[in-house]
């Protein structure tokens, strides 16, 4: 606990000399970019070595060296090209603009915008989940329970969403949203309270709470379960009065107002952490809880607050996905997003803006992977592998340094949050 050997973001030194600052910027940008790049390269290698045609070509490399190389490049190009097209579709957008300029109407353009809108849509829960983990990290706590908090948030919001009838939307929607936030806050707040009052480590309890949430949901959502429809293991649909509105009426475009809520949350978390007294205390506790205690901060109370806020962000991740996109909840709702969020926080160096950028990247990758699966028959799980590798490379920057022969500078410490288990 006391061994916060970390670079846990200390209050920014005001008059830091410029060399350190550029080094810090380099760390903040270069390493994440290299980490993602390296992970994608390893993903490509994985695609190649599991492709029968490519492996066969390489086994008989000398029969047709050029053909082998061409096939290799083509295989990777096809996979990642599909991912690019399925997530951004820049070519399609340019053609659409051209068509609109030629006076052929905007229909082509609106259709071409669907992939990028979907990428942004998929980023929304990532933004909230990433903020949740980053916020807790700033306060020195490891919220590994995003998975459960998201699930509880989704369940609470969907319940209000389909159960309350006859309300106008300006009452119903806020209620459903608040329910999601409160559910997540409660789920994480329990963990925070247990840490404060009994000293039980938040990581173990978060893991336990994850599984409790998963089992509870499988009970609530099983066919005939308390929250499920009688014939299928999903909840009844959310009533339109509790929908987060979608902004385009193109079929297949699910982009919704929750994206702007996410941007607001990024600003809010930034303001809370860096501009408010509470945030200062939180970062102080994160940097050194003992010092914070002796300077008069009520650390135990703060732990509960940090976990509750973090949980409400994770709960919001589940809530926006439910009210904005799915509009019902089924078993297996969050499927690993709570853990991916740890990668987001690490990539974004626990800074809200960094998390935003990382979440946009992940949303794009995930969306593109769906296309990759249908075009190139590469399982979407390749993205899961890439995410795991990103975590490794960010957490162990020495690997990246060694790979790219980067010199070590003083401002570069890994985002290590090392501390003990039991206390």
């Amino acid at each position: 606990m006391s061994e916060a050997t970390s670079s846990a973001p200390l209050p920014e030194a005001a008059g830091a000399p410029p060399p350190v600052k550029t080094a810090r910027l380099r760390t903040a940008l270069l390493y994440p970019i290299l980490a993602v790049f390296t992970a994608l390269v390893i993903g490509a290698i994985l695609i190649l070595v599991t492709d029968k045609a490519v492996v066969n070509a390489w086994l008989n490399f000398f029969d047709d060296p050029m053909g082998t190389l061409r096939l290799t490049v083509q295989t990777v190009g096809k996979a990642y090209g599909a991912m690019f097209e399925g997530s951004l579709n820049i070519g399609g957008i340019i053609r659409g603009i051209g068509a609109a300029l030629r006076g052929e109407g905007t229909r082509q353009l609106t259709i071409a915008l669907v992939p990028i809108s979907e990428s942004l849509t998929q980023s929304v829960p990532y933004i909230f989940a990433g903020l949740a983990v980053a916020f807790a990290f700033q306060g020195g706590l490891f919220n590994i329970g995003g998975e459960g908090q998201m699930l509880v948030g989704a369940l609470c919001s969907v319940y209000i969403g389909f159960k309350l009838t006859g309300l106008p939307w300006f009452v119903h929607l806020p209620l459903a949203m608040l329910a999601g936030m409160a559910g997540g806050a409660l789920w994480a707040g329990i963990v925070g309270a247990l840490k404060s009052y009994t000293g039980a480590h938040e990581v173990i309890n978060s893991i336990m709470m994850n599984w409790i949430a998963i089992i509870l949901s499988s009970w609530l959502l099983k066919v005939g379960g308390p929250m499920a429809r009688p014939d299928v293991p999903v909840t009844p649909p959310v009533l339109p009065t509790a929908w987060i509105p979608r902004l385009f009426d193109t079929p297949g475009n699910r982009f919704h107002a929750g994206f702007f809520l996410a941007l607001f949350a990024v600003w809010l978390v930034w303001w809370l952490l860096y501009k408010s007294t509470l945030g200062f205390q939180i970062r102080m506790v994160g940097a050194n809880p003992k010092a914070a205690k002796y300077s008069g901060v009520n650390v135990k109370r703060l732990w509960i607050i940090i976990m509750a806020i973090s949980g409400s962000l994770a709960g919001t991740a589940g809530m926006v996905q439910t009210l904005g996109v799915d509009r019902w909840v089924g078993v297996g709702f969050s499927s690993g997003m709570g853990f991916d969020a740890i990668a987001l926080a690490l990539l974004g160096r626990n800074h809200p803006v960094g998390v935003l950028l990382a979440a946009l990247l992940f949303g794009t990758l995930k969306n593109g992977a769906t296309r990759m699966q249908s075009v190139a028959q590469i399982p979407v799980d390749i993205i899961t592998i890439v995410i795991a590798l990103v975590i490794v490379f960010i957490a162990a920057p020495e690997i990246i340094r060694a790979l790219y022969r980067l010199p070590k500078t003083s401002a570069e410490e890994g985002p290590v949050f090392t501390k003990g288990w039991g206390s």
Partner: protein
């Protein structure tokens, strides 16, 4: 929480005594509440003429000494149980047991027994079947817990157990399918999970990455790679995903013992490997030089280092062996029980293993005991589902929550004290 909060002018002894007394009373009240619960929940909801039947013979045709069924008059038995528990509670209130935690265990056992008697009122249930299933369900949990004990005793937190088991599960079935040998499958599982152990060790010990982050990365990686390979190879080519299953082996003599025989000694070879592993870890941890060093490294690496123990070497060895043990546990999911791999087949058993390790207080025997308890809740859940809703009007899923809930309660220090190895999770930096 600790005695430091005592008023300055009160002697610590008096304070401790008062605290002890309060605790004694709390336990006593809790026991009486349990008795009340048995009376209100179970006795009131059963009728006088009912009988609860527990079958004690295996369902399969095996040569064991046949036992008669245990038939209990439901209500009378429940009243007796409620009586016993309330007597225990009163004694605890008035005089207090020396080791209240053990009494707590007994009370919990009696409560579970009362619950069972009530649940099967007017019907019959095969108790032997439940117990056999318990041992089977506890096996992957226990392998996970042993893996955790190995790693954490040397000071490395391992939450990657789940990922190691998942990888082991897949590699086992693929190796067994290709080679046609279950033993090669098992070997493959051990090697693959051991490699993840190497990976964890390098990240945690060499690069000093936060061990929870490293473990999470391995879990995500394992989930991704196994699902990837499963979709790319196992689903198009089912021949790669049919490795067969280790047959049950009845151990001569031992399997003839009533009840214990069929439950423990007529099982898959992997379960015998588990027994050997548990005993071996217990013996090695507490009776060998290596065990002493491991514990020293886990508690106070600096001191161990000063005395010439190679902290890094011990940690590397333990984490890698821990990975290999998790691999055997993974193999149990496929070539030990169902014979095929499905995505995310481990379904969180690695995390229950982690919980069992904590519940068992980082000791191999305790962790195995905890695994059996968690396995029992699994078995009970499956059986209650069969009994039906009218018989047991509580959702059977709630029983599945128990292991997690129990772990949280234990961690909260309500039941005795759980203390992790002091250096658990902290990387060692040599001066």
């Amino acid at each position: 929480m600790t005695a430091t909060t005592a008023p300055v002018n009160t002697s610590l002894g008096a304070y401790a005594a008062r605290r002890e007394r309060r605790k004694t009373i709390a336990y006593g009240i809790f026991f009486l509440l349990v008795a009340l619960a048995i009376a209100l929940l179970f006795v009131r909801n059963s009728a006088p003429g009912m009988e609860s039947t527990f079958k004690l013979n295996p369902t399969t045709k095996e040569k064991v000494v046949p036992l008669g069924d245990l038939v209990l008059p439901t209500q009378a038995a429940l009243i007796v149980l409620a009586g016993i528990v309330s007597v225990i509670g009163l004694y605890q209130l008035v005089k207090g047991f020396k080791r209240a935690v053990i009494v707590l265990g007994i009370v919990a056992l009696l409560f579970v027994f009362a619950f069972l008697i009530w649940a099967v009122r007017g019907k019959s249930i095969n108790l032997l079947g439940i117990l056999t299933f318990t041992v089977a369900a506890a096996t992957p949990i226990a392998f996970g817990a042993m893996s955790g004990v190995m790693c954490e005793r040397s000071g490395v937190v391992n939450i990657a157990i789940e990922g190691m088991m998942l990888t082991g599960a897949m590699v086992a079935v693929v190796f067994a399918s290709i080679s046609g040998s279950l033993w090669l499958g098992l070997l493959g599982a051990v090697i693959s999970a051991g490699l993840l152990g190497v990976f964890l060790a390098v990240l945690a010990i060499h690069f000093r990455v936060d061990q929870i982050i490293a473990g999470t990365a391995i879990n995500i990686f394992a989930l991704g790679i196994t699902s990837f390979i499963s979709q790319r190879f196992l689903q198009p080519t089912p021949a790669l995903n049919s490795g067969g299953v280790f047959a049950k082996i009845a151990i001569p003599w031992l399997s003839q013992i009533p009840i214990i025989g069929p439950v423990f000694f007529n099982q898959s070879i992997i379960i015998y490997i588990l027994f050997a592993t548990v005993i071996a870890i217990h013996f090695m941890l507490f009776y060998t030089r290596w065990g002493l060093r491991t514990r020293a490294v886990g508690e106070h690496p600096r001191a161990a280092d000063t005395l010439g123990v190679n902290v890094f070497k011990i940690r590397y060895i333990n984490v890698i062996i821990g990975g290999m043990i998790a691999g055997v546990g993974g193999a149990y999911f496929t070539i030990g029980s169902v014979g095929r791999f499905d995505e995310a087949i481990t379904a969180g058993k690695g995390f229950i293993g982690l919980a069992a390790m904590i519940f068992g207080r980082w000791t191999p025997l305790g962790a195995y005991g905890a695994s059996l308890i968690f396995g029992f809740s699994d078995a009970l859940q499956a059986r209650l589902q069969v009994l039906g809703k009218t018989q047991v009007p509580i959702p059977s899923e709630w029983l599945l929550i128990l292991p997690y809930l129990v772990t949280m309660i234990v961690l909260a220090g309500v039941v005795g004290k759980t203390v992790a190895p002091a250096a658990d999770g902290k990387p060692y930096i040599k001066d």
